[in-house]
């Protein structure tokens, strides 16, 4: 169980108390994100938001079900390819293109999830990684993905025939809306009876089964939700950057989302968002340094695992003694 560092809030903790803090934190986050584009380069913020949604979706699995998927890039990347292809070649409007990408990721999630969910722990990580690598080779060889070039110059289009996404602020607030919708959906999932069962399975699977819950079905459902929202992030990202490329399906991307979630705090609601913003800014600043990015990421991994297992938000939550 991944949150074994002893920080996992007891499940019975009253939702009213913890809820108030989380509502405050949520309000602060929304306020910051609404104001941010007037001060910070919006394209950078959009990138961070896409990754934040991706990391939140990933966190549902590792933080609340205790499953480490090492192949989550596949959902991000496959949705990106589908959305980009739909928007560019089929001329779909952005909302349908993103929806199409999201559904592709959901379908892939059902297939990969069904294969991987029967195993646990390290086996699960290994199997998701291998299946993801298989999908990577498919995208590398498939004609429509453009191989090493990827799909470039994807039109952003006009959302719902109302919002012209070529305007950078319009695009930003659409991305923000998508991120918040995904974030709230995940928040609801975690705090629903369904989420409680997931946590019960994480803590003690045999007992959850003995209580009559079909653990495999719950885990598969969580896997598909996670894959779907990763797909939503990937599809949005493809429209924003007008590009779908192999980077997003490669296993290094799967590693990156693990890093974001670990750094922000596994099993915290806001951790993945914080982690994603830190990692994306780091990459921005270190971009000129080439392979040093990898070294820095590796060092963060090592430091997090050895001494900082609760992550930024996890430590913060411990400080104020409230789950965040």
């Amino acid at each position: 169980m991944v949150t074994a560092s002893g920080t996992a809030p007891p499940v019975h903790e009253t939702l009213t108390v913890s809820g108030r803090h989380q509502v405050t934190a949520f309000a602060v986050m929304v306020l910051l994100l609404v104001v941010a584009p007037f001060f910070i380069y919006p394209l950078f913020l959009m990138k961070a938001l896409c990754f934040a949604l991706f990391a939140c979706a990933f966190n549902l699995l590792i933080g609340y079900v205790g499953l480490l998927s090492f192949g989550h890039a596949v959902f991000l990347g496959s949705a990106g390819y589908t959305s980009a292809h739909a928007a560019k070649v089929w001329g779909w409007p952005p909302e349908l293109a993103i929806l199409g990408g999201t559904l592709t990721a959901a379908a892939l999630g059902i297939v990969i999830g069904a294969l991987a969910i029967r195993s646990k722990g390290i086996y699960f990580a290994n199997i998701t990684l291998a299946l993801a690598q298989m999908t990577y080779f498919f995208f590398l060889q498939a004609k429509f993905t453009g191989g090493e070039d990827g799909i470039q110059a994807v039109p952003r289009g006009v959302l719902l025939r109302l919002f012209d996404l070529r305007g950078v602020m319009t695009m930003y607030f659409v991305v923000l809306a998508i991120f918040l919708a995904g974030f709230l959906l995940l928040y609801r999932t975690i705090h629903s009876p369904f989420g409680q069962v997931l946590k019960a399975i994480r803590e003690h699977e045999p007992r959850a089964i003995s209580l009559g819950y079909s653990a495999e079905r719950y885990k598969l459902a969580a896997f598909v939700v996670s894959a779907t929202l990763s797909g939503l992030a990937g599809g949005t990202k493809a429209i924003v950057f007008q590009l779908a490329s192999l980077t997003d399906v490669h296993w290094t991307m799967s590693g990156e989302v693990v890093l974001m979630t670990l750094l922000g705090g596994l099993g915290t609601v806001f951790g993945p968002v914080v982690g994603a913003f830190i990692v994306v800014s780091l990459e921005n600043y270190l971009a000129q340094l080439g392979a040093w990015v990898t070294v820095v990421q590796g060092v963060i991994f090592v430091v997090c695992v050895l001494t900082f297992r609760r992550g930024v938000v996890g430590e913060l939550a411990r400080l104020i003694r409230r789950p965040l």
Binding site: I127, A130, M134, L262, G290, G298, V299, C304, V305
Partner: protein
């Protein structure tokens, strides 16, 4: 020209040999992973980086110390194995009480650091490494030309795998090791120094990876990323064979190398994915792998 199923025999045997070579590396690397996994219960994600370090150690020995291939075959595994021992003593050791996933994450981070540092220093293009003069040339077998060095790699890795299997399955030391895999507390109670055994096992697994790296240096170029993608294929091999199974990883390693080689002849488009497809099929039928036990 003779053909089998419409394929020229030259091409068929050529690919079969390449498959056998790849299989040798799969077998050696998955064997090391299995040995480590058996006792430490972690997936050593740094295995590919340690394989690469083995190849680089051979390169350094030649460039800086003037020591050739044969010395490298001896020294590189020892040096890289010692680095592995240091990693285990200083970092991995602290994680045994925690979830095993942390071991995976730590070694993943270490792999990123090692590969990043080497890439900064040597770029992404490969450095050439010569085949030792004793093993240049080839033998004409009538139906194909067999390069001596490739025959040596297959033979040597097969011997290494068999020797490892023998030590683990047939000697007293191996019996301790297998007992510690089953129940470390009890073995410790009998007076065996289990922590030291864990350290040495990790060092041994890493040394195997480095040895494979030295063998690979003259075939593939010495390249900072030579282990990065290979290791994922090896993970799939380990899943197919059954994690922690010694004989399983050797047999599946060679078998999958050959299957991959044959796929290149008959259906080249699938040669990159065939191992992963086999993995998916095996998982459907036997979730613990072909030779694995439920644990």
């Amino acid at each position: 020209m003779t053909t089998v199923f419409g394929i020229p025999t030259q091409a068929l045997f050529g690919q079969l040999l390449i498959g056998l070579i790849n299989g040798s590396f799969y077998a050696m690397l998955s064997l090391g992973l299995s040995v480590i996994f058996g006792l430490l219960n972690i997936i050593n994600f740094a295995h590919g980086a340690q394989y690469m370090m083995g190849a680089f150690a051979a390169y350094f020995l030649l460039q800086w110390a003037g020591l050739g291939y044969w010395w490298a075959l001896l020294i590189a595994p020892v040096v890289v194995g010692l680095i592995g021992v240091v990693m285990e003593r200083t970092m991995l050791k602290r994680l045994y009480a925690l979830d095993h996933l942390y071991g995976l994450l730590l070694t993943f981070g270490l792999a990123l650091v090692i590969q990043g540092l080497f890439r900064n220093q040597f770029g992404s293009s490969g450095l050439p490494f010569q085949i030792p003069p004793e093993l240049t040339g080839g033998r004409n077998l009538g139906f194909m030309i067999l390069p001596n060095y490739r025959a040596w790699v297959v033979g040597f890795s097969l011997m290494t795998c068999l020797a490892t299997w023998y030590v683990i399955e047939r000697t007293k030391l191996g019996a301790y090791l297998r007992a510690a895999t089953e129940n470390p507390t009890l073995v410790q109670a009998f007076g065996v120094n289990v922590p030291r055994m864990i350290t040495l096992t990790y060092g041994f697994g890493v040394a195997l990876a480095a040895l494979a790296g030295v063998l690979a240096a003259p075939i593939y170029q010495v390249n900072p990323l030579m282990g990065a993608d290979l290791i994922i294929v090896v993970f799939a091999v380990v899943v197919i064979g059954g994690m922690g199974s010694i004989a399983g990883s050797i047999i599946t390693g060679f078998a999958l190398g050959i299957i991959e080689g044959l796929t290149k002849v008959f259906y080249p488009e699938a040669s990159n994915t065939v191992i992963f497809v086999i993995m998916a099929l095996v998982l459907l039928v036997r979730p613990t792998g072909l030779f694995g036990r439920d644990r």
